[in-house]
Amino acid sequence: MQRIGVFVCHCGTNIAATVDVKKVVEMALAEPGVVHAEDYQYMCSEVGQEKIQNAIREKNLGGVVVCSCSPRMHETTFRNAAQKAGLNPYMVEIANIREHCSWIHKDVKEATEKAVILMRAAVAKVNLNTPLKAGESRVTKRALVIGGGIAGIQTALDIAEAGYPVDIVEKTPSIGGRMSQLDKTFPTLDCSSCILTPKMVDASAHPNITLYTYSEVEKVSGFVGDFTVDIRKKARSVDMSKCTGCGVCQEKCPSKKIPSEFNRGLSNRTAIYTPFAQAIPNVPVIDRENCIKFKTGKCGVCSKVCQAGAIDYNQKDEIITEKYGAIVVATGFDMIKLDKYDEYAYSQSKDVITSLELERIMNAAGPTSGHLERLSDGKAPKEIVFIQCVGSRCADDRGKSYCSKICCMYTAKHAMLIRDKYPDVNVTVFYIDVRTPGKNFDEFYRRAVEEYGVNYIKGQVGKVIPQPNGKLLVQGADLIDNKQILKEADMVVLAAAIEPNPDVRKIATMLTASIDTNNFLTEAHAKLRPVESPTAGIFLSGVCQGPKDIPETVSQAGAAAVKAIGLLAKDKLLTNPCTAHSDELLSNGCSQCAHVCPYGAITYEERQVNDHGIREVRRIAVVNDALCQGCGACTVTCPSGAMDLQGFSNRQIQAEVDAICL
């Protein structure tokens, strides 16, 4: 039996107002094995921690129970304190008498009784604790960034600047991401490519950065500090070392009718293509699905015209396997599909477009060379209606429950730019709320109204009705005037909700990083650890974690980089000692535990055992401590009980059950 000390925290009045802490101390002293018990105002304070340390030394304690707030809050604090006094940190258990007791119960008697039981359960558990030693694992000093948009680029640049090698994996042929599709950026109206392109160039030129464009992460194994990642470099069909980026192949390619992804399908591209003029790398890819050579075997024009001889139809996908210490996810977003919003006639009329399509239309390099015109007839619009919150803030199954955050500002930007460039065009915005928190954001929106005369109407649109004359009748509500409005427009622009890139679910699964119901990656703590995934060694950058504008994305990208750098700067990491352990005398070698292990941490070896005098070679399950994350799936699958989990052993949990049911 351990010599146990019990320390009861008042947490000011947080605990003490509802739990009779003196009573808990008194009852603790009556527990077998408890040789010391005391209470204190704030156990987590320096004085409180000293009390624990003094008791450990003076009473020679072998186990400590702290009755306090949640272990998720201060378990590490108290374990570190105990360690400083010479006690193995894993001999400390927490009884959560705040979140699970004082804060939810009002009656002092009831709360005290429960606190005593929780204390007893912790004492019963500690009695069976054994000292555990965290192992060490090495840190590979290289980072992987998944996604080459502004978030990924910024993270990679920051990590590279700190002196660590970093690889960017980007699935499209060029880095740049969504930002490269934008025309201007709010609230300063800088040209998007003018500020993005230099960063793209920096990233490609940085000696510490390797770009894998047209590539995807295929497989991830390992754990924090020591991930092994397979990257599929898709066959580009163009030799990157030979290509000069002259562009002749694209001019000559006869397959010209492929909707351009970069221009959101508003213009066409060729089968061999670079997505846009400033693409990095400036090396085209052959889209094999649409290439005549690949479809029919005949053609080969690009190969004939390429002076550098860079075209290689026989190129194969290549798998690159690399080790990384840290992984940053920066997979970004896309607009939602609008097939569930046919009341806005997006699929019925070419003149109903999304905001991102408008960005392309407004852009000098876009499908209309920057002229604002209707896609149906090329005429200049006179009346434009913007509809906000299309698919955002929805409680039905058509849209997203969240606010997409960026639409209010970009719509103000669009409205302003149109009014500035085409003063004869009337702009109306139907909005539910205008949300402009951010530096100089509300001022920006007010300028749209006050200086540019944009007509903001509070109310949603019910239906966009295409008219026989080609106009669009917008039927909306004006909730301030309490009127139903019918407005004839030439163009309607929908602020469609944004959603995480659909690929992120696959990537999150590979990374064992958690993801919420909206496919946003979950942060380790909403307030205190916003750029870390709960899975150690995985960091989050940009919209993959939640809707963000560019300044926020860049800030978060930097923050994620710092977290990754902090990890890469370490030589060794301590591993979680609460891992599974196989008892060689009990192991059946039946493989069932290996089937349920999500980490491949269980292997089998033929081992000579001495089972009470019987010497024989047996097939024994062996746990790799470095891979085991301590979930315990194996322990329940194991019928003989050979597999047990350190720190949460069968007998420890049963002791808690017994103490509670007493």
């Binding site: 919003y341 239906k463 026989p468 004359n469």
Partner: protein, 261 residues
């Protein structure tokens, strides 16, 4: 193939055409509509209140009879379809309504939404297939420009009716193509004609009918088709006389060459 068939009161009376042409067309297409034996009027309007039970029972009776026969239940009138489909959904998903309705009904085996309710158009689309229909057309209505008027009852609420995309439906347009005519797509085809209020509020209903018909005519339709006797009545009474309105079954029978049967 045999289906249970719920005609509804109007089809036995003012909308006999809708019913008759459906039956002869069904015969031509090789399926049979077997009328439910003792059907009662569905009430014409779906009682929205969650505590409405008695008003749902006639639908349950029809649904249960189809279940006992092991047949799918086919409807024609938009209102009947709407009411029966929604009551069926309640019986399937709302435990409270299911329990109470079954307590009233005292069936041998409680009814829990087992029957599949199909509109005649859905039979054409999902059971017969518009491709097959097209092959069976002997008298294609070539050159006719037809506007499909869906109205509201067939489409909404989209999740329960599951008939077609409620904001941009195409089943009737596909039907029109199958019988050899040209569909005219116009935005008011899924807007309400105000049928329910046409009894007491002609003015309002008339305004709506005009909007619908003007829009259809504006896009080049020279006739409308509907599945709903109420829409038919309202559009005829309150709408523009220049644009005739037909039951879709009438044109179907014509295309199949069985109109005179």
């Amino acid at each position: 193939m045999k289906y249970s068939y719920y005609p509804g009161c109007t089809l036995k009376n003012k909308a006999q055409d809708l019913d008759h042409y459906a039956r002869v067309s069904a015969q031509a297409l090789g399926f049979e509509l077997e009328e439910i034996s003792e059907w009662q009027c569905c009430g014409g309007v779906y009682p929205l209140g969650t505590d409405e039970i008695a008003t749902k029972l006639s639908s349950v009776r029809a649904l249960n009879e189809a279940k006992e026969k092991g047949q799918e239940l086919v409807t024609l009138c938009s209102a009947c379809h709407h009411v029966i489909k929604r009551v069926n959904d309640d019986m399937k998903h709302v435990a409270d309504i299911r329990t109470k309705a079954n307590n009233y009904m005292q069936l041998d085996e409680p009814y829990a939404g087992e029957t599949n309710v199909l509109h005649f158009l859905e039979v054409l689309r999902d059971r017969v297939g518009f491709d097959v229909l097209k092959e069976k057309v002997t008298n294609p209505l070539t050159g006719k420009k037809i506007g499909a008027y869906y109205g509201c009852l067939l489409l909404r609420p989209g999740k329960v009716m599951a008939f077609d995309n409620p904001e941009n439906p195409k089943i009737m347009e596909d039907f029109i193509r199958a019988i050899g005519a040209e569909p005219v797509i116009y935005p008011y085809r899924n807007e309400c004609c105000g049928g329910y209020i046409s009894l007491k509020d002609n003015e309002l209903a008339a305004g709506m009918c005009r909007k619908i018909e003007d829009s259809a005519a504006g896009f080049g339709a020279d006739m409308l088709i509907t599945a709903c006797p109420l829409c038919m009545y309202n559009l005829n009474k309150n709408g523009n006389e220049a644009l005739p309105v037909y039951y879709f079954t009438e044109l179907l029978a014509e295309a199949l060459g069985v109109k005179g049967v």
